[in-house]
């Protein structure tokens, strides 16, 4: 593989970046260089890699991306993306740079700090092992997380002090603004919830403009002992966009993470989600809803690592595929030898609205303990003819009956989302995407 050629644009971009002050202090620069070297060494995955069997990233690898330039967007453009009315704070990151003027921290209670990652890096005198390597809470680095670390100039760090409770969500909005050349952004979000704290975070990705964008995101969630973290990720970018995201969560003793991933796709949207249940009684809910049409490919790979005993995990992923959309779902559950009394449940369902839509789904259970309960199920299909007939036989028009059933299918996942506005807007976006009559 002619690595040097394929990555030429990254090499020149990286060299230019490293000369700029945005690359940060010396230790960080060294970390970036190491990460970039690993990236060049590894290269982009191919479909020969088991983890990438059904998702060919050749369109990304074959395109010359530049580090996204600073861009300005108006408050008006932001209005449709904002959850300001509901949020305790809204942090807006445009093309990888936190925008203080578009952000608002007014309603943030004491005990919570939300700051720029750049600022965090600059003030870190002695970085910990993970930050100097750009490593996530729960996983080794990958080609994409290395690429992210090499280029991430800014991001958002949320720290919730022990026993602090933030009921209104903190919204972190990453906007990619496309331009004349394909632009790469490297968003990074780090959330640390202290002992017995509670926080709700909405992490959303949106695209503006016509140019091709590639968001290569890394999210890190650290759920402290007895902490409760409610997380929603909303991905809604342009049809030409590439979105590759890695989220890693580490849960301490009796920590609870509820995460909903809402994905509307782009050309390729891939979510790699890792959760390590690393303390007794930790519990995670990983749910997701993806809605795709056209030529979109949505790929979700989740790994739930039961490292300690008495941890429940619940996973419900649902997809609605229209047009020629494709989806991949791979749900790995690891139960370590120590993790007795694990209770893991995984469900994956997909609704195919056309004959051309397709999905590849695979559960992957690796169980090394003997006193555990692990269940998984997958159901792929079209709308249920019997249900359609039942609704029609009561006078409901076929188009409305289909609409009702699609809503019901999605509502099953969305009912777990705590922020009303997220649920309501997601339904509207779903209606738009699938061109359903508005309810």
């Amino acid at each position: 593989m002619p690595v040097a050629e394929r990555h030429e644009s990254y090499v020149s971009s990286f060299e230019a970046f490293c000369r700029a002050p945005e690359a940060g202090p010396e230790w960080l620069r060294a970390g970036r260089e190491a990460a970039f070297a690993r990236f060049l060494d590894r290269g982009f995955p191919t479909t020969r890699d088991e983890e990438w069997r059904f998702t060919n990233v050749a369109p990304i690898a074959g395109m010359s991306f530049e580090r996204a330039r600073a861009a300005a967007i108006s408050r008006e453009a932001l209005a449709v993306l904002s959850f300001r009315a509901e949020a305790a704070a809204e942090v807006v990151v445009v093309n990888g740079r936190l925008s203080p003027t578009l952000s608002s921290f007014d309603a943030l209670p004491a005990g919570v700090t939300v700051k720029s990652l750049r600022e965090h890096w600059q003030t870190s005198a002695r970085p910990d092992e993970d930050s100097s390597k750009g490593r996530s809470a729960a996983s080794a680095t990958t080609a994409f997380s290395d690429l992210n670390f090499a280029f991430a100039e800014d991001g958002v760090v949320i720290d919730v002090a022990p026993k602090t409770v933030v009921t209104s969500p903190i919204h972190v909005l990453f906007v990619s603004v496309g331009g004349p050349v394909p632009a790469m952004v490297s968003p990074r979000l780090i959330v640390t919830a202290g002992d017995q704290s509670q926080v709700s975070v909405i992490e959303s990705y949106a695209g503006i403009g016509d140019g091709v964008t590639f968001a290569n995101a890394v999210t890190d969630l650290r759920v402290g002992p007895n902490a409760i973290v409610d997380h929603v990720k909303i991905q809604r970018e342009q049809a030409t966009a590439f979105h590759l995201a890695q989220m890693a969560a580490r849960l301490d003793r009796a920590g609870t993470l509820t995460s909903h991933a809402i994905t509307f796709g782009g050309r390729i949207a891939r979510n790699d989600i890792f959760a390590v249940l690393d303390g007794e009684g930790a519990e995670c809910v990983l749910n997701g809803l993806y809605v795709a049409d056209g030529e979109t490919l949505v790929d979700t790979h989740t790994t739930i690592d039961h490292a300690k005993p008495h941890c429940p995990s619940h996973e419900l992923y649902k997809g609605i595929l229209d047009g020629r959309a494709k989806a991949v779902f791979n749900g790995k559950i690891i139960v370590r030898p120590d993790a007795q009394k694990t209770d893991a449940k995984q469900t994956n369902k997909a609704l195919l609205l056309t004959d051309d839509a397709q999905i590849n789904t695979k559960p992957q259970l690796e169980i090394f303990a003997d006193d555990v309960k692990c269940t998984h199920g997958a159901a792929i299909g079209q709308l249920d003819e019997d249900q359609l007939f039942y609704l029609r036989a009561r006078g409901i028009a076929e188009v409305d009956a289909r609409n009702l059933l699609i809503h019901a299918f999605a509502a099953d996942v969305l009912s777990g989302v705590k922020v009303d506005a997220v649920r309501e807007r997601t339904m509207r976006w779903l209606e738009e995407k699938l061109r359903l009559p508005q309810a």
């Binding site: 036989a393 009561r394 006078g395 409901i396």
Partner: protein, 255 residues
Amino acid sequence: MLLEVKDLRVRAEDKEILKGLSLSVETGQVHAIMGPNGSGKSTLARVLAGHPGYEVVSGSVTYDGKDLLALQPEERAREGVFMAFQYPVEIAGINNTYFLKAALNAIRKHRGEQELDAVEFMQLVRAKAKALEIDQAMLTRSVNEGFSGGEKKRNEIFQMAVLEPRLGILDETDSGLDIDALKIVAHGVNALRSPDRAIVVVTHYQRLLNYIVPDIVHVLNDGRIVRSGGKELALELEEKGYGWTDAPAAAVGSR
């Protein structure tokens, strides 16, 4: 004549099920259609409701002067045809009340009546729900989800009470019901008997007909009506079984 079925031949998956069935139902009447398993009773009910799984080979169905077979299932419902399902479908995620309101308003709109708002609808529903012992919890749950067999059947008759059809077709509504549930269902159906409405009760057993007393009883065998008579025919069937009706003897019309 509200319903006129003439020489109806129906196929499902290359098998002929109805083989020239004729039936006439007047407004105000209650007809019972009885017959052994596989005789075509449920097929008749489903074809009248417009189930897409059947192919009408020949014959005609005229309902209130219209060609019923030309109408979509939802158009039939809006014209006042209602089938209580033998196996009501569970629909997770659709609230029972929301569903019924959408159905009623679709029908009212078709009739040129004002759609009901949430308050008016709930008033209507509460009154009807009480008679069929439908409790609040059943109304707020998803359609038929987690309902017992008896609850599902009661819910069907409850829907019929709310939607007020001109032709109600009950497809083995008695199957699987214990005697208490059967009485509640029968009571609900009897309350819906009216000079403006016809009811066709499809059943395998005579038992239901002790509670819903029909005006006319038909025996369906091998895709045809082979006997028709008064309510005493049901008792005769109970006594002798269906065997003696096999011979396609004098099939007496209901006219």
